[in-house]
């Protein structure tokens, strides 16, 4: 919690004395760049090893399978990244996906012949509504996001259960055109993967090139300084929750195209996988650094590992445990690197400045 938050500038004040203005591009930069690269390397290694043991792992259909399976995780990870960058967390995404999946798919059941576009809009609308509530309580009511989204996780799931009642959406009530969305490919890559990639690109572009994007990093980097700099913190934080909700809503519709049979347990516990993906992907859990591309790669890595283990004969029961383990491993490694860096900076300064 708050007391355990590392003071961001500790390394600096430790090393405040000796002044070397002629610093080459810093160690820190290098390490951060290496972070995303590191995931790619691990991913490549994993794929390679699995391929050597089980060559069918790299077959076209299996690659498609992994990508299709990654889509929802990568998509939701975009919104989660926005939230985490501002030093908040959204634990409610799994429930939002579940609710949106049921409500959108149920449109076909309740009003046969509904256009797919309307269904997508409804799904996104469900997410938007959830995001508005979460965002308002967090940003305006000033309740810590952990508390709000933990509560929303259960509230939304509860609402979902109430709406679903004893029923469920079954595959044959969905039109083929809708189910086919999941299976359609362009150039051998699933359509949904393309859409997700495009959204990741847009999000990355926004975070990199727009003031409102940069300000999210600033807020997570140092909230007090952000206030001094006149950044509208509440508005920005509110926006991230709304975005996270909308994206989770969209992912919910994707979910129903993928699984077709939807009941009240859809996407249960998804939030943990998402947070694992985001953190493994190099987004600092205390905000301020990381990228959506990293988060998407984190999701890809997690799914690849799951599928690979499956291919290697490890039962899928392990999925959750592995996600938890990787999450802990990632934050531990990041912390280790950070500490070493601080010590290195302190010592280097003493050598140059002495």
């Amino acid at each position: 919690m708050s007391t355990a938050a590392p003071k961001p500038m500790n390394a600096v004040s430790d090393a405040s004395k000796a002044g070397t203005l002629a610093n080459p591009r810093s160690l820190v930069d290098l390490v951060l760049r290496a972070r995303t690269f590191g995931i790619l390397v691990i991913l490549a290694l994993f794929v390679l090893v699995t391929y050597l043991i089980q060559p069918s792992f790299l077959s076209g259909s299996n690659i498609r399978f992994v990508l299709a399976d990654t889509v929802i995780y990568a998509l939701v990870a975009i919104g989660e990244t926005f939230v985490v960058l501002t030093r908040n967390v959204d634990l409610s995404v799994g429930s939002v996906v579940g609710l949106s999946a049921y409500v959108s798919a149920d449109m076909f059941q309740a009003h046969p012949g509904t256009s797919t576009v309307v269904v997508f809009l409804v799904g996104i609308g469900v997410g938007l509504a959830c995001g508005l509530v979460t965002g308002a309580i967090t940003a305006v009511g000033r309740v810590p996001s952990l508390v709000v989204t933990l509560a929303m996780l259960y509230i939304i799931r509860g609402v979902d259960t109430i709406i679903v009642g004893s029923g469920q959406v079954v595959a044959n009530s969905l039109p083929n055109s809708f189910i086919n969305i999941f299976h359609a490919t362009v150039l051998g890559i699933p359509d949904l993967a393309w859409i997700t990639a495009i959204l990741v690109g847009i999000a990355a572009y926004h975070l990199r090139w727009y003031r409102s994007g940069r300000e999210l990093y600033a807020i997570g980097s140092d909230p007090a300084a952000a206030r001094l700099a006149g950044i509208p913190i509440a508005r920005r934080v509110f926006f991230t929750f709304v975005l996270s909700g909308m994206i989770a809503g969209l992912a919910g519709v994707f979910w129903s195209t993928q699984y077709n049979t939807i009941d009240a347990t859809a996407a249960n516990g998804l939030e943990l996988q998402i947070i694992a993906a985001v953190v493994v992907g190099g987004v600092a859990i205390f905000g301020g650094s990381g990228s959506v591309i990293g988060a998407a790669l984190g999701a890809l890595l997690l799914q690849t590992i799951n599928v690979a283990l499956n291919v290697l004969g490890v039962p899928s029961l392990w999925t959750e445990a592995i996600a938890g383990f990787l999450l802990i491993l990632a934050i531990t490694l990041d912390r280790g690197i950070q500490l070493r860096l601080a010590v290195a900076l302190r010592k280097r300064r003493s050598h140059l400045g002495g």
Binding site: P24, R25, Y210, S221, A225, A229, G230, R346, R349
Partner: protein, 522 residues
């Protein structure tokens, strides 16, 4: 420019101010929770002038700075900028009006690039409202060139030294075309070389017509770069006038409110060695520190802020770890990195930052006093609340702490009484060695003298005392011996007879001291 201009030759002002003030604050007052931090203070800033703002800690300087910076809003008073009445609703407002504040600890975003830090919230844009990062880098590079400092605009801010961070803040002010630049103790953490460079920058800006507010405890710096001075004391305005004709002694008198603040030194008879520090080293912080403190003597650790004095004390007490060396208390080796072990060995430690380290501000006075003695207050594992209150009240009385109710939060006490609570907390353990870091920082003059008497009488009772202080007069009043640190090393050990302001300053700065070099305030 490398050598600071002398006050006489460089003073551009006569008594007549050059034109209308750029910024004028009149009759401002501000209270927090009923306590006046600032009362009826007026301040005029003129273009092309560096205006010194001096006063002891707690005099109201920070509050004044925060009012000018739009962080606080005055309860009363009027602010005029460029002849126009304004209300600053927030820091953003102040920035828009051309006021830039550089805080002692700059507030940069460690994860953003230097250029982004300079331009956060107002990055130059190109088509489709995208950030034009090339223009941003170019502009920041140009500013750094003008300041003569080689900082890469594209590197991230994490890992910049304090001096570099300040320069980034200055760059921020320059790109905003700030008319008023307020610097809150900018040199506190700088090496002499870095400070010189900063002065050169200030001189340049002043030449370009900026109004500068310069806050410093080092009067030599004030005389070197400022043309006008305002002295605050206890939240009130004491002097505001051109600096010509003012002597350092005048300023000190104005700051403390009387001529003689410090009592006579009391000579003590040292006994056996209590603390023995041998070749203590923490890489990058301090190096090869060896010294002893004997029972019944007061040893002062002097030096500039950032010389590593507090860090040595923290390492001895076990707050920080050290890389090499050893600490002995009463002949027994002390385990490193354990305040508990240090306390058991008989050390008490009054830390530098009372609010963050010395006290649990939201807890009651009684609980704060008892906090380090809990194991002594328990019977069968439980604390008898009444015994605890009696214990606390007794120690509060011995130290003449003035409090309303002993169960009220300690935050309701004045700074001086809070400091006495910290002292009571440690004295209640009857330590054989007491380390006091900045014993009188930010407390009123009367209490200051009381604390000095207390420390001296402790030594008389046979306690070994190690005092860290940035106030030279305080060092000279209290110390039987003075150790001086500079840039992480122990550079001088002065006996009572050798210790003078000049000799200490010389050892602390590594240069023979000019006569005007006075450290005043905290």
């Amino acid at each position: 420019m490398t050598s600071p201009p002398s006050p006489v030759t460089d003073a551009v002002t006569d008594d007549a101010p050059p034109g209308a003030p750029v910024l004028s604050l009149s009759h401002a007052s501000k209270a927090f929770a009923g306590v006046h931090a600032l009362q009826d203070v007026s301040l005029d800033l003129y273009a092309g002038e560096a205006h010194a703002l001096v006063g002891e800690n707690g005099a109201g300087k920070s509050t004044l700075v925060k009012i000018l910076g739009g962080v606080h809003q005055p309860d009363e008073g009027r602010l005029t900028i460029g002849g126009e009445d304004v209300l600053l609703h927030g820091p953003g407002d102040a920035a828009d009006r051309g006021i830039a504040v550089i805080y002692q600890e700059p507030t940069l975003f460690p994860d953003l690039s230097v250029a982004e830090n300079v331009f956060i919230g107002r990055q130059p844009l190109r088509a489709a409202r995208r950030i034009d990062s090339r223009a941003m880098d170019r502009e920041v590079e140009a500013v750094f060139e003008r300041l003569g400092v080689p900082i890469d605009p594209e590197r991230i801010a994490r890992g910049l030294s304090i001096a570099e961070q300040q320069l980034v803040e200055i760059a921020k002010a320059l790109t905003r075309q700030a008319r008023v630049l307020i610097m809150d103790e900018p040199t506190a953490a700088l090496s002499p070389v870095e400070a010189e460079r900063l002065f050169a920058v200030v001189e340049t800006l002043r030449g370009e017509g900026a109004a500068i507010v310069f806050i410093s405890h080092r009067l030599a710096e004030v005389f070197a770069i400022c043309q006008r001075v305002t002295v605050l004391r206890d939240g009130r305005l004491i002097i505001s006038r051109p600096l010509t004709g003012v002597t350092p002694d005048d300023l000190v008198r104005a700051m403390v409110g009387r001529d003689i603040v410090y009592g006579e030194h009391e000579v003590h008879q040292p006994g056996h060695t209590v603390l023995k520090v041998e070749r203590l080293t923490r890489e990058g912080v301090f190096l090869d520190i060896s010294f002893e403190v004997r029972a019944g003597e007061v040893v002062a650790l002097a030096g500039l802020v950032g010389a590593g004095r507090s860090e040595v004390a923290r390492a001895v007490f076990g707050i920080d770890r050290y890389d090499a060396g050893a600490v002995q208390v009463n002949g027994t080796a002390l385990r490193k990195g354990s305040p508990g072990a240090a306390m058991q060995a008989g050390i008490g430690f009054v830390p530098e930052d009372r609010r963050q380290q010395g006290l649990v501000m939201e807890e009651s006075t009684a609980r704060n006093i008892a906090l380090a003695s809990l194991h002594r207050l328990q019977r069968g594992g439980l604390i008898a609340p009444r015994a605890e209150l009696r214990f606390a009240a007794e120690w509060a009385k011995r130290l003449q702490v003035r409090y309303g109710r002993i169960t009220n939060p300690v935050s309701s006490l004045s700074g001086g009484n809070q400091q006495k609570v910290v002292l009571a907390k440690w004295l209640a353990r009857r330590p054989s060695l007491l380390i006091v870091d900045e014993p009188t920082r930010g407390i009123d003059v009367g209490t200051k003298a009381e604390v000095h008497r207390l420390i001296s009488s402790l030594a008389t009772e046979g306690v070994a005392v190690l005092v860290i202080s940035s106030e030279l007069p305080e060092v000279l009043t209290l110390a039987d011996r003075v150790l001086v640190m500079r840039e992480g090393r122990l550079t001088e050990a002065l006996s009572r007879e050798q210790a003078t302001e000049q000799s200490i300053v010389a050892a602390a700065t590594g240069q023979p001291a000019p006569t005007a070099q006075t450290e005043a305030g905290s």
